[in-house]
């Protein structure tokens, strides 16, 4: 029989049992829709993390005290106090692959203005801090190095802090706020960055000269980390090794001693972070894949029922000259139609679900064409694989037995 007629017969058979066909397809629909949505979410969250990390700064590197690679070994309290302003100065003068460097200190506390107060975090840096962290000042001006040297009580506020203390959209430049009882004059407002992928509000910050935070709030001489920008993304590795060299010397580490600090780059961070989401994506995709498998078994089940129901029809078709291959194809096409049509509906629903997730999370979710093609191919394979045994059973029937079947 020619393929066109086989297709017509299959469509007719599926239409005859519309509800049953739909329920059979449901497994595939759910499977495909969830695979596509899971992969899209995975891809979206990965992209969002990459964007976030890119937005953290430009070719950023940072030094943290201690050695994370030492894992469980207890770090002496001194090791977290190893980084100093002297380290920053050494890096500034000696590392030519570094174009900007700033100390960083931070403290959490209550910011107060009049009778409003708001819990937030204050970060201390120098004039280059904003540039390194890719932050712009939308009104007012940046901190100057002179202010950093003189521990001036000035600060920049993030949009959230401004909104909470002064009211939505109001420009508080020139006002004074108190952070842990210390008055700070607001010299500028930071541009809005929004939430990061962990749901943290990046605009919930105050930035002040590091010396001010060190002396007046924390009363400490060491710094918590060093933030830097490499000249270019390509030179980030070179910068990393230059910084390492300088710090080993300033920290007077001997040949056989491990680093008591850690230099990380933005790129490294991106790789670690995205590898986590990649594993999650694979895991979710695999779970969704199992539902696809269950859908395939559903098709197989219904195809067996269909073959049994139509045994006499099969006998008749054989008696008028239908060969085994004709019967095999008739049922195989039916099961492929079920799974491919189910797959198509699943793809449409997958697109819809991805759009909903995108709207809810504001992640840059996009359905990958590769996953659509994959879903389509998998459906065809499922149709053939799970349709094969029932179809084979139909084709192997003896015409007389089939005709006699009650």
């Amino acid at each position: 029989m020619n393929p066109g007629n086989l297709l017509k017969i299959a469509i007719k058979a599926l239409k005859r049992n519309k509800m049953r066909s739909f329920l059979t397809m449901l497994g595939i629909i759910i499977g495909v829709a969830s695979v596509i949505t899971m992969l899209a979410i995975g891809q979206g969250s990965k992209k969002s993390i990459q964007d976030q990390i890119a937005g953290m700064g430009s070719n950023m590197l940072f030094v943290m005290p201690g050695n994370m690679r030492m894992g469980g070994v207890q770090q002496g309290s001194s090791s977290s106090q190893r980084l100093t302003v002297a380290d920053v100065k050494a890096i500034k003068t000696e590392c030519d692959a570094i174009v900007a460097v700033s100390p960083e200190v931070r403290s959490s506390g209550q910011a107060v203005s009049g009778n409003s107060n708001w819990p937030t975090t204050i970060y201390g840096g120098n004039e280059q801090y904003l540039e390194i962290r890719s932050w712009d000042v939308v009104s007012g001006r940046n901190i100057t190095d002179t202010e950093a040297e003189s521990s001036a009580k000035v600060c920049l506020v993030g949009r959230t802090v401004a909104d909470e203390l002064f009211g939505e959209g109001i420009d508080p430049t020139g006002e004074t706020i108190r952070f842990q009882s210390i008055p700070f004059k607001i010299i500028g407002v930071l541009s809005k960055k929004g939430q990061n992928s962990f749901g943290q509000d990046q605009d919930d910050v105050i930035i002040a000269p590091y010396t001010t935070v060190q002396k007046r709030i924390l009363a400490q001489t060491h710094i918590q980390s060093i933030q830097m920008s490499a000249r270019s993304a390509e030179e980030s590795e070179l910068a990393q090794s230059q910084v390492e060299e300088v710090l080993r010397r300033t920290h007077k580490l001997r040949e056989n001693e491990d680093n008591d600090f850690e230099v990380r780059s933005q790129e490294e961070l991106a790789t670690t972070m995205t590898s986590v989401t990649e594993i999650l994506t694979i895991l979710l995709g695999a779970i969704a894949g199992i539902s696809l498998l269950v859908g395939g078994i559903g098709i197989m089940n219904i195809m067996y029922v269909s073959v049994t129901e139509r045994t006499r029809e099969i006998g008749l078709r054989m008696s008028v000259g239908g060969r085994s291959i004709d019967i095999l194809l008739q049922f195989l096409i039916e099961s492929i139609l079920l799974s491919v049509f189910g797959g198509l509906i699943g793809i449409v629903i997958g697109f819809g679900a991805s759009a909903i997730v995108e709207a809810l999370t504001s992640w840059p979710i996009s359905v990958m064409w590769s996953s659509v093609i994959l879903a389509f191919a998998v459906c065809t394979v499922i149709g053939i694989f799970f349709g094969w045994y029932p179809a084979r059973r139909a084709a192997d029937l003896d015409p007389i037995d089939a005709l006699r079947f009650e």
Binding site: N2, G315, L316, R317, V320, G322, R323, L403
Partner: protein, 246 residues
């Protein structure tokens, strides 16, 4: 006269568990072109088994069988399917029409499995076959919109559509009342008069009288073979039958 069916020493055994059933025990049978042969005999005597082998639905355990001068006894499943498609027409007791499929499409079915017939040719032949059984005006009806007799006519049209060398009918009037049975027999006689070879299994001696020769089976062997004397004309019988009224 051309011999259509030439069977010699044909045997068919069925094995059911330990038991072997000898359904046919060495049958010799020759059927010539244009014959209308009744196969009679008690239930279980091997009539259907014989007809299924003649129709290449089943293969014999032993013996030779030439259909239209071709040895079909040793053919594979697919070869037999092709032979059925080109040379055989079946009419069953229970019509065996595809449900929710129009009369026309039911009649077209055998030609669907013949790739050398175009779809236009297929339609034309199916319409011609339906005309030959007097159902041209019902070709778009579904089986459930037709009476038993009409359904059997559609089945006969289906058996005709590939212009087979022989039409095989297994108790084709078994489900019909007397009047309808004679209507169907009248149709078969008409086809036979036009030269079709027909082999017809029946229990009813009166129906067998409409044919040209009767072959009687008992216990897997032919016990009697004779030409029909005083052959009945089904159309005339119909005229003498009272039209049922209620």
């Amino acid at each position: 006269m051309k011999t259509i069916i030439d069977i010699a020493n044909l045997k068919k055994d069925y094995h059911v568990g330990e038991v072997t059933v000898h359904a046919l025990r060495g049958v010799d049978l020759k059927i010539n072109e244009g014959e209308f042969v009744a196969i009679m005999g008690a239930s279980g005597s091997g009539k259907s088994t014989m007809l299924n082998i003649i129709g290449c639905l089943d293969r014999p355990t032993d013996g030779t069988y030439l259909l239209d001068n071709v040895n079909v006894a040793g053919m594979s499943k697919n070869e037999r399917a092709a032979i059925r498609n080109l040379k055989i027409g079946f009419v069953f007791q229970s019509y065996n029409l595809l449900s929710r499929t129009s009369a026309l499409e039911n009649v077209e079915l055998p030609l669907m499995y013949n790739r050398s017939v175009s779809s236009r040719e297929r339609r034309e032949k199916a319409i011609a076959a339906l005309e030959a059984v007097g159902l041209a005006d019902r070709m778009n009806h579904m089986p459930n919109q037709l009476s038993g007799g009409q359904q059997q006519r559609v089945a006969i049209a289906r058996s005709l559509v590939n212009d087979p060398v022989v039409i095989l009918a297994d108790e084709a009037t078994g489900n019909l009342d007397t009047r309808t049975s004679y209507e169907i027999m009248s149709l078969f006689q008409e086809l036979n008069n036009k030269g079709k070879t027909i082999v017809f299994v029946t229990h009813e001696p009166d129906i067998a009288k409409c044919m040209t020769r009767s072959v009687v089976f008992r216990d897997g062997s032919i016990i009697r073979e004779e030409d029909v004397k005083n052959r009945l004309n089904a159309a005339e019988v119909l005229r003498t039958l009272p039209v049922e009224q209620d």
